[in-house]
Amino acid sequence: MSVVKMENAVKNYKVGKMEVPALRGINLSIEKGDFAAIAGPSGSGKTTMLNLFGCLDKPTGGKVFIEEHDVITLSPDQLAEVRNQHIGFIFQSFNLIPVLTAFENVEFPLILLKKEGPRARRKKVMNMLAEVGIAELADRKPSEMSGGQQQRVAIARALVKSPDYVLADEPTANIDTKTGHEILHLMEEMNQKLGTTFIFSTHDPQVMEHARRLIKIRDGQVESDER
């Protein structure tokens, strides 16, 4: 069963009067439980692809389906709703809210969901912080944590609302190799334990080794898709 699907997806960017193609007709389906890496050199279209998967952008042509939603037909607020309910994000530079503690950062998407009261949220957040191994850092602010610890908070934040899939844009780019491996192990562990689908972009061969599905793209086209 696919969680997100592209059908002949095209994305062009306007640079001045020129139209520059970023994606040239992508057909791709991400299945539930995938641990998929999107790999390719800089400028190959990885980030554009993740943006389309993440409902952060709409395709210029073709279609992107998230569950039954056709992304192109959705309003900005509906897209926000889809992101809120279905998608978790992990960013290259962690992107935690600096004025909030680790606990509050992880709680943030649950507050946006407006489904649970403070007590239920607290339980979920503490469980998730324990899962990623930083329960004792719950009261620390991002500035009081290492890069690896911050990325663990970001993973907890992405997973806490049990999304259909998690998008991670070069999640190990800003941390050292050893911590990078730890982070990838943690993502694999969460993928296996919770069954969460992960889609991450990278150009690091060592990171690609962790992927169970490797989608290579070049010049905005899928070059290979190996399982």
Partner: protein
């Protein structure tokens, strides 16, 4: 959301402090000015009302036409009965007769126009409060041939308590008449135009001097609700005999328009001050949005809707505006209290303009009102929130993917 907004406000403490300071200062100035100007307006109104136009006056229609000349031939006859009738009206607080007449006095070879006012001392106590305004001597007593003189006039004429003031003037019928009045007291109403050129005598003495037995030049009326003077005057007017008219204070164009103009002018000044201060909020919120572009992009990526982002920024401005307005209102309350109790003394300035006709006081006091403070406080908040609308819209409309590239 509130916690996040509050922490965002405290994120750059120095900037928030400086922004808050400008809002607080603006709120304080607005409250102070509002209190002060209201005090001047109320003072001016009260002075004008008590000394001149009343809430309503019953006049002879001919007198009204030529009031500047103080014509003694156009009077209100049988005033005592009129007062009795008026005081049965529920909306009337007080009615009393007055006779105003002009006298030329000889001061060191120069003629000086002086205003004599015949009053009922007992009734007028509730209007003019002369017992509180005596600088020396005693208050005017009814039925005596005494007078009390304004402090400026007494100085100019070199008059002391116990001296005799000889008044020579024309009667209502045009013949000459004179009266010796013993100076019982010297008063200061704190209004240059009255203190420098007015003396009071009892109504009976004035009637005798001017040959106006049973008549007055005006029946002066105070009512319970001054704002209803026009309606009350219309009601009174219907009951008056032919030749008499009831004139509400609003008919005095100068007073009415001056008050309206001052109110509007200062309204514009308050808005301008707050507008200037709100530019600092505008600037601060724009800077905050620009600095946090990436963070805002991330929050949108996490599923925050445009409206929620906009509300977050507005909430930050609301928190900052409320804290600043609270401080401003506290400072404004202290200033308002000072200016309404101690006041500001303009005696020195008035030495230069002794004979102006506007009944201005020497010392101005503000009109302390919690409502003014509340409105000043709320306006501070309102302007802060309004100023955040543009930055909030900008933040709300940021493209999440683009914003995260920043």
């Amino acid at each position: 959301m509130f916690k996040l907004a509050l922490r965002n406000v405290l994120r750059n403490k120095r900037r928030s402090f400086l922004t808050g300071l400008s809002i607080a200062f603006a709120v304080m100035i607005v409250i102070f000015l509002w209190t002060f100007v209201s005090g001047i307006l109320v003072g001016m109104f009260n002075n004008y009302v008590t000394n001149s136009v009343g809430h309503i006056r019953v006049l002879n229609t001919d007198y009204l036409k030529r009031e500047m000349m103080l014509p003694l031939s156009a009077t209100v006859p049988d005033y005592q009965r009129l007062i009795n009738t008026l005081e049965q009206d529920q909306s009337v607080k007080l009615a009393t007769g007055r006779i105003k007449f002009g006298v030329l006095m000889d001061i060191k070879g120069k003629n000086k126009p002086v205003l004599g006012i015949g009053i009922d001392p007992q009734r007028e106590e509730a209007v003019l409060g002369l017992s509180q305004k005596m600088v020396s001597g005693k208050v005017l007593a009814a039925g005596t041939s005494e007078t009390i003189v304004g402090i400026g006039l007494a100085k100019e004429l070199g008059l002391k308590i116990g001296d005799t003031l000889t008044v020579i003037t024309q009667t209502a019928h045009g013949s000459l008449s004179g009266l010796n009045l013993k100076i019982a007291g010297i008063f200061s109403l704190g209004i240059a135009s009255i203190d420098n050129r007015t003396f009071y005598l009892s109504l009976g003495q004035a009637q005798q001097l001017l040959d106006m037995d049973g008549r007055v030049t005006e029946v002066f009326i105070l009512i319970k609700d001054p704002d209803k003077a026009v309606q009350v005057a219309a009601g009174i007017g219907k009951t008056l005999p032919a030749g008499l008219t009831a004139v509400p204070w609003q008919a005095n164009g100068f007073l009415y328009y001056m008050m309206t103009i001052i109110k509007n002018l200062y309204g514009a000044i308050y808005a301008f001050i707050l507008l200037l201060a709100s530019f600092t909020i505008l600037n601060t919120m724009f800077m905050a949005v620009m600095e946090r572009t990436r963070e805002i992009g991330m929050m949108k990526a996490l599923g925050m809707k445009e409206g929620e982002i906009g509300r977050l920024i507005t909430l930050e401005a609301l928190i900052l505006g409320t804290m600043a307005s609270l401080i401003g209102a506290a400072g404004g309350t202290l200033l308002a209290y000072y200016v309404s109790t101690v006041g500001i003394d303009y005696t020195a300035a008035f030495k230069q303009i002794r004979d102006i006709e506007i009944p201005l006081a020497y010392v101005y006091r503000g009109e302390f009102s919690w409502l003014t403070i509340l409105v000043g406080f709320l306006l501070g908040i309102l302007f802060s929130v309004l100023a955040s609308i543009f930055p909030a819209r900008r933040a709300a409309k940021l493209d999440a993917a683009e914003a995260m590239k920043e």
